[in-house]
């Protein structure tokens, strides 16, 4: 799993020079060859088949337990009064959060001209799409009568009934569906040139037709590139606020409620930070084995991992700060219900979950202060998995511990998941991994066109790079040349 020893260390910051983002003896052709090679080779590493078999089994399990849920009723879960939400919404928020890293990497880092994003953005976006799919499933199956879920959408109907626009759950529907749509478009748009590459290289008829259809007639003309760049920029601009808004809206599910432990104004930023935190952890968790499996260490370098670890650390500190603020505000408000809600988290029946959360989300990422941890892949993965566990438990603690002890002590309860919920959680991971592995098999998992733009051959060293697709080298633009006068 460790990076090949012969590669130079590109994590060192040498003043005056840009650290290379593509290592080794790579040119445009070799990048294309490596990325397309994964899709085109007949046999994948054995690990892929093993993981895929496990994932498919879990997906089948998911179908089975959801079918059972639909047939028998929500009572097969461990929910009760007062705990009306448990694993379902916890896992929903978890997966939505996971998705955030992808959008952050592809949109916000794009706008901020973070060139290192090119190596991982496709991968992370794919993760976003699949995570949001997993997330979206939970609100749909968690209702008592899932066959009426469509009532949550505002559509004109013979009943003359609109949904309740005051309900954050409704905003959730809008936020998540918007997010999914924009993310999908962004992902797909970015993939078109690479799909065209795959089409051009295709040797079988099926591949020719499939990739031909998917690449929408891309020929790589200047006009195509021009349109493409504009659309991509606009979609990035559109996706950027969504990074902030989606999880803010998700947090409204709790913040707008009056339940102590939920009713809190810090939730939107806190949730967004947590989402990015967990998302980056998930990218690290996935990308480290994948790059080693497919030999992509030259393109997904130690520097990429180092950067991601730093973001994880930064957002982890924000999350830790939010935890602190929650406790401070509970104390400072003087509201005994708020105070109790927080004390109950740390000392009540769900203290075990709280301390798992604290250990994983606050203590574990502190390891990323050490460069050795940030650049040692197995340590990175270890910490990231802990963060993922911690972030799942964060949502569990917020939802379940608050619900279990609300206002009236007579109605305090305790929630324990059933095997059906555990299987559903496992199944959602199975679904996610199945989709992800299929993407690795059939899609361009790295944005080849973008990676090429940050290679020395693209003339990056010649001036301030405006990001994506600005080829200083072969195809100079008059306009760009004027802007780029600052180059030495």
């Amino acid at each position: 799993m460790s990076a090949a020893p012969h590669l130079p260390d590109n994590t060192i910051e040498a003043p005056g020079t840009r650290a290379p983002l593509i290592l080794g003896d790579n040119d445009f052709a070799s990048v294309t060859e490596k990325v397309c090679g994964i899709v085109e080779r007949r046999q994948l590493p054995r690990a892929w088949y093993v993981v895929f078999a496990v994932s498919c089994s879990l997906t089948a399990l998911l179908v089975a337990v959801v079918g059972y849920l639909f047939l028998a009723g929500i009572g097969v879960w461990g929910l009760n009064i007062p705990v009306g939400w448990g694993f379902d919404i916890t896992t929903f928020v978890f997966w939505v959060g996971i998705g955030h890293a992808g959008t952050l990497i592809s949109a916000i880092l794009f706008l901020f001209r973070q060139k290192w994003r090119t190596g991982i953005n496709r991968f992370a976006e794919a993760m976003t799409i699949f995570a949001v799919m997993c997330a979206g499933m939970f609100p749909a199956i968690h209702t008592g009568r899932p066959w009426f879920d469509y009532w949550l959408f505002p559509y004109p109907n013979q009943m003359y009934v609109w949904p309740n626009f005051r309900s954050p759950l409704l905003w959730d529907v809008f936020a998540v569906s918007t997010y999914f749509t924009v993310s999908l478009m962004f992902w797909y748009t970015g993939m078109i040139p690479d799909l065209a590459t795959l089409r051009d290289r295709a040797t079988t008829r099926v591949r020719k037709i499939a990739y031909g259809l998917l690449s929408l007639g891309w020929r790589g003309s200047g006009r195509h590139w021009h349109r493409y760049e504009r659309v991509y920029l606009m979609l990035a601009a559109l996706a950027t606020p969504l990074v902030l808004s989606v999880h803010s809206v998700v947090s409204f599910d709790f913040a707008v409620a009056q339940l102590p432990g939920w009713h809190s104004t810090i939730f939107p930023p806190y949730f967004v930070a947590g989402a990015i935190f967990s998302g980056f952890a998930m990218v690290i968790t996935l990308i480290v084995p994948v790059r080693s499996l497919f030999g992509l260490q030259e393109m997904i370098t130690a520097r990429h991992l180092d950067n991601m670890a730093k973001i994880t650390l930064a957002t982890g500190l924000m999350v830790a700060y939010s935890y602190g603020v929650e406790f401070f505000m509970a104390w400072y408000s003087g509201n005994p219900f708020e105070r109790f809600a927080l004390a109950n988290r740390a000392l009540g029946p769900y203290a075990w979950a709280f301390w798992i959360m604290m250990a994983c989300n606050v203590a574990a990422p502190q390891a990323f202060w050490f460069k050795r941890v940030r650049t040692t892949p197995w340590m990175l993965v270890g910490v990231s998995i802990l963060v993922n566990i911690g972030m799942w438990f964060e949502r569990f603690v917020i939802i379940v511990s608050s619900l279990s002890r609300g206002y009236l002590p007579s109605s305090w309860g305790y929630y324990k998941p059933t095997w059906v919920e555990l299987c559903t959680l496992a199944g959602s991971f199975g679904l996610f991994m199945t989709l992800f592995l299929l993407f690795l098999r059939f899609g361009p998992m790295m944005a080849m066109a973008e990676v090429k733009s940050v290679m020395p051959a693209a003339g990056l060293d010649r001036g301030p790079h405006h990001g994506h697709g600005q080829y200083w080298g072969e195809i100079p633009h008059q306009h760009d040349r004027q802007e780029g006068d600052a180059r030495p």
Binding site: I81, P82, W162, A343
Partner: protein, 1032 residues
């Protein structure tokens, strides 16, 4: 609605004497009658179902106009199949249209409008005392039981047992036919077969003057049965007839017999009592007249006019009276007499002469705590001569005598306690009644045993002794609702008619006479014990109707018989029929003192076990009633189980904790039962509710809980010493609706802090000094709303007020709500999972020290918040606000996100996690209230303020073009509340009761700082502790 005319009873119409009384108006009215087994029957295919001749007959009868068209096979065959299928889904074979007895209405009975419910007066007897009831009937199906406002033992209220007896009527496990058992084999039989056997058999017995015949009956107040019993005695002079109850209620009579020389029945008048001392007594809950007592008791607890009663309670058991008391002293049952005697001694020191010739003083306790309690009680009693009341409970003997002596000495007799002559044989039900019966068997020669009701094979002490003796009798006949343990030990089991399906007559505790009239044809062809006895006496006309009317003729005299009869049926009571009061009683000098309690000193001989009637199953007879099984115990909140209740001190001393299974051992008898640590019980005592561990109760009750009868001793029916607890190392999950989980320190502290805010309370002195004290209690500033409040423009604005000072926590409201609103029973597993469905629950909070807890009850249903948090978060707008201020739940629209419940601060919303009505037996479907939707799986539900009742009154008022009167709309909970703690009304009418109560000084909102603006407000609880007693 209640009929104004005298012609209310189904038996009160024009009736020719030749009429077969069983075939009365019910059948004439085309009502559902089924002589075959009610239940699900299966069919194999739709074709088979749709083409049966029966089906065609039904269709022809149902749709005479349509039938021709429908039944032409060529044209309408497809439609027919669809229709047949839908009927099949509803259980065609089980639907209650009998083939042979259906008759159309040729003439509509007077006041009978299809779809309009009618109420009939009847009465339910339990343990020899009746409570008058009004039963609502929809198209011939009784669906709701309420108290009869004209009846003195009810005054409109009904307890949980009476209300839940509706479900008992429809219980599919009731026995459906006569059973003959022979040599361990069981043969279905019929009444005709029994008659063929009994005719010659009893004729032979008559020839022998009844020698070898023994009758064991339940306690009964029925004048008809008493009349038949005297005829029986004439006809079978050699026969033995004893009555027996597992939980006898003759304690007061026996004490009067000892003290006054006559078995007089004491009637308690709590409304006149300023000071009440309860000696191991629970008169407001566990008493034949509890419903009436609760009303009187609660009336004196509201602090009206700055006065209220002061209640002292002592005894081992934390009962509802103990919970309501101002001063509670937990002592072992065997020490209660000592405390009582100490009160007498203290009174003597205060100049109250004790009855001469009795050496009660020698019993007096010298223990300082007990003496202090006794001194405080004595001081208050002495200061309130003629306004005090000392009540001893059914488990006490000597304490009873002392209580009677104190009442006599203080001049309370005739004022707060009235003695009446009940005219029953003395003593009506000696606890050795069963011994008499068994002794007769033992002497030999008993060839025929007739057991009228009761279940001695389960509840006798010890039951094995009963079974051994009983088996020696060759002919054993048992009349009962269920084919129960005793039936299985009998040679003949005769299905008993439920009181809702048979004619009968009963007297209430004070003697008021009521007629039981059938609301429905006997579902399984059962007969009442009265009818059975009448037929055994060879009466030509043994039908209940004739027997009861004949008795009634004897009561009222021949003049105006029909009019009096019809008036009694209509009113549910016969005016002036109460037992005559004995104005003066004189204590006999000398005489016997009841034996001092035999249990002995708890410390020396181990623990003392106390056996109490269970709040849900009573003595076990309601074990198969799912409503009652799921009704939480008022104090422990246990459902579907019983437990060994230990005080925290005893539990610590024994080294057990909540949920541990212990072996309770007395000699060679043992029962393994889970521990529930219950604050307030006496140390050194283990309290064991009776009535569980049934083996032949039915599908609901079998195997629920643990049989504690086995630990009862013949000499210690109520409490017995020398009991040891042994740990088994096992644990058992008790299904509690509150505090299901053990609490941790942080939760314990927070709960303690919150209770004071949620259940506000103060002392009478505080209230008098500052009536505004409730409002001055800490309250956080209200939150600001993020949404505008709904427009409350309706003509009425509904609201409710619940008086915590009055509420005694008896659960009557829960059953009323369950019956009224078709609330599902979910079962033990689901209760453990926290999915109980009750729309109204009674929260129970303890405060103070665990040894001497103070208890507060808080009925909690949907608060109908004006700023309802649930409404704001429902994504599909399934819960909305009406312009009359109701928070309405639209089941059809609900998708079941449960967000509303998550956001409900009061956690009163209930979710259908499963389709809880999936397997409702056919017969129980008849218990549904047709005015209320039966909710399916996946939807949220909650209290609606009984919107169906609101709308019914609104429609009626609109039709009459009149305004709605205050108090005309009464939700089910408020209607039945024995303490009258719940008041409902329109706050737009400033003069309405609820408006005035909301303006009361004691009024407050629970969690008002959330700015939910609840429409249900509470009146703070008041206590009236003696200023002379330091609160421990």
């Amino acid at each position: 609605m209640r009929q104004g005319s005298g012609d209310r009873g189904p038996g009160s119409g024009e009736r020719s004497e030749a009429h077969e009384p069983q075939l009365d108006d019910h059948e004439a009215a085309g009502e559902v009658v089924n002589r075959t087994r009610v239940g699900k029957e299966h069919w194999r295919s739709l074709d088979e179902l749709a083409d049966t001749p029966e089906f065609r007959t039904v269709v022809e009868k149902e749709f005479p106009g349509l039938a021709e068209e429908l039944l032409s096979p060529q044209t309408r065959r497809a439609f027919l199949k669809v229709m047949g299928a839908s009927l099949g889904v509803a259980g065609l074979a089980g639907c209650r249209w009998p083939k042979e007895t259906i008759l159309p209405f040729a003439n509509r009975p007077e006041d009978r409008i299809p779809g309009v419910p009618q109420q009939y007066a009847t009465a339910m007897e339990l343990g020899g005392a009746a409570v008058g009831l009004l039963v609502t009937s929809y198209d011939g199906r009784p669906v709701k039981i309420e108290g009869n406002p004209l009846h003195p033992a009810s005054r409109g209220a009904a307890g949980a047992f009476a209300q839940a007896s509706l479900l008992e009527l429809y219980d599919p496990d009731r026995s459906t036919h006569v059973v003959r058992r022979d040599g361990g084999q069981m043969f279905p039989a019929s009444w005709d077969e029994f008659a063929a056997f009994a005719g010659p058999h009893f004729a032979a017995l008559r020839a022998k003057k009844g020698a070898g015949l023994a009758v064991l009956s339940e306690d009964s107040s029925s004048p008809s049965l008493a009349r038949l019993r005297s005829r029986f005695a004439e006809m079978f002079p050699e026969a033995t007839w004893v009555s027996w109850e597992a939980i006898p209620r003759d304690d007061g009579r026996l004490a009067a017999a000892r003290l006054f020389g006559e078995p007089l029945r004491p009637l308690l008048r709590f409304d006149r009592a300023d000071v009440v001392l309860c000696l191991d007594a629970d008169p407001i809950f566990d008493h034949p007249a509890a419903v009436a007592h609760a009303r009187d008791f609660a009336a004196r607890r509201r602090g009206e006019g700055g006065t209220m009663s002061r209640v002292y309670s002592t005894g081992a058991v934390m009962s509802l009276t103990a919970a309501a008391a101002d001063h509670r002293l937990a002592v072992a049952s065997s020490r209660v007499a000592g405390v009582a005697a100490r009160v007498l001694v203290e009174l003597e020191m205060l100049g109250v002469p004790a009855p001469a010739g009795r050496e009660f003083a020698q019993l007096a306790t010298a223990e300082p705590g007990e003496a202090a309690f006794a001194a405080a009680a004595a001081a208050d009693l002495a200061a309130a001569r003629g306004r005090g009341l000392v009540v001893a409970g059914p488990r006490q003997t000597a304490a009873h005598d002392i209580a009677a002596a104190i009442n006599l000495a203080l001049g309370n007799v005739g004022a707060t306690v009235a003695y009446v002559r009940d005219g029953l044989p003395a003593p009506a039900s000696a606890s050795d009644g069963l011994d008499t019966f068994l002794a007769a068997v033992e002497r030999g020669g008993v060839g025929t045993a007739l057991v009228l009701g009761g279940n001695p094979a389960y509840a006798a002490v010890p039951s094995q002794r009963f079974l051994d003796r009983f088996a020696r009798v060759p002919v054993r006949i048992h009349v009962s609702l269920f084919d129960d343990e005793t039936s299985r030990a009998s040679t003949w089991h005769l299905p008993r008619a439920h009181y809702l399906e048979a004619w009968g007559d009963v007297r209430s505790w004070d003697g008021t006479y009521s007629v039981q009239q059938p609301l429905i044809e006997a579902l399984y062809g059962g007969r009442t014990p009265t009818e059975v006895v009448a037929s055994l006496l060879g009466d030509a006309n043994a039908a209940g109707y004739e027997v009861v009317r004949a008795t009634f003729k004897g009561l009222g005299g021949p003049d105006g018989f029909e009019e009096a009869w019809r008036r009694t049926l209509n009113d549910g009571v016969l005016a002036g029929s109460a037992f005559p009061e004995v104005k003066t009683v004189v204590a006999q000098t000398g005489g016997v003192i009841a034996a001092a309690p035999a249990a002995g000193d708890g410390a020396a001989t181990g623990l003392e076990a106390v056996f109490v009637a269970d709040a849900s199953v009573y003595d076990g007879r309601f074990a198969n009633n799912a409503w009652l099984q799921e009704m939480p115990d008022p104090l422990t909140k246990i459902t579907w189980d019983n437990a060994a209740l230990l005080s925290p001190g005893t539990a610590a001393a024994v080294g057990v904790k909540h949920g541990d299974v212990v072996r309770v051992r007395r000699g060679d008898k043992a029962a393994e039962i889970a521990v529930y640590v219950m604050p307030g019980h006496a140390d050194g005592t283990v309290v064991l509710p009776l009535g569980y561990g049934r083996t032949a109760a039915g599908r609901v009750g079998d195997g629920v809980g643990v049989d504690t009868y086995v630990l009862r001793a013949p000499g210690g029916l109520h409490f017995v010493g020398g009991v040891a607890l042994e740990k088994t190392g096992r644990t058992h999950t008790l299904a509690c609706t509150q505090d299901q989980q053990a609490i941790d320190r942080v939760g314990y502290e927070a709960r303690g802090q919150r209770i004071a805010e949620i259940v506000r309370e103060g002392t009478l002195a505080e209230f008098v000094a500052d009536p505004e004290f409730v409002r001055k209690q800490d309250e956080l500033p209200a939150m600001l709303p993020i949404f505008s409040s709904p427009q409350l423009t309706g003509e009425h604005q509904w609201a409710m007020s619940i008086d915590l000072a009055a509420c005694i926590g008896c659960n009557a409201c829960m059953i009323a709500c369950q019956a009224e609103n078709n609330i599902a029973v979910v079962g033990r597993e689901q209760v453990i999972r926290g999915r109980v469905m009750h729309w109204i629950r009674v929260d129970r909070y303890f405060s103070g020290k665990p040894e001497t807890p103070r208890v507060a009850f808080q009925p909690m249903a949907c608060q109908q918040c004006e700023n309802a948090p649930c409404e704001q978060v429902c994504p599909v707008a399934a819960t909305m606000h009406s312009d009359e201020g109701l928070n309405e739940q639209v089941y059809n629209r609900c998708v079941g996100t449960r967000y509303c419940s998550n956001n409900c601060p009061y956690k009163v919303r209930r979710f259908n996690f499963f389709n809880y009505f999936k397997n409702v037996p056919q017969s129980e479907k008849m218990a549904f209230n047709p005015e209320v939707t039966v909710r399916g799986r996946g939807v949220m539900e909650k209290c609606s303020f009984c919107i169906q009742r609101i709308e019914a009154v609104k429609i009626a008022a609109k039709n009459d073009r009149r305004p709605i009167r205050d108090g005309e709309i009464v939700p089910a909970c408020a209607q039945t509340c024995p303490a009258q703690a719940i008041v409902f009304g329109d706050i737009k009418d400033a003069a309405s009761r609820v408006s005035r109560l909301r303006a009361d000084h004691r009024s407050y909102s629970v969690l008002g700082e959330l700015n939910t603006k609840p429409r249900t407000t509470y009146l703070a609880k008041l206590r009236n502790p003696s200023p002379k007693v330091e609160e421990g």
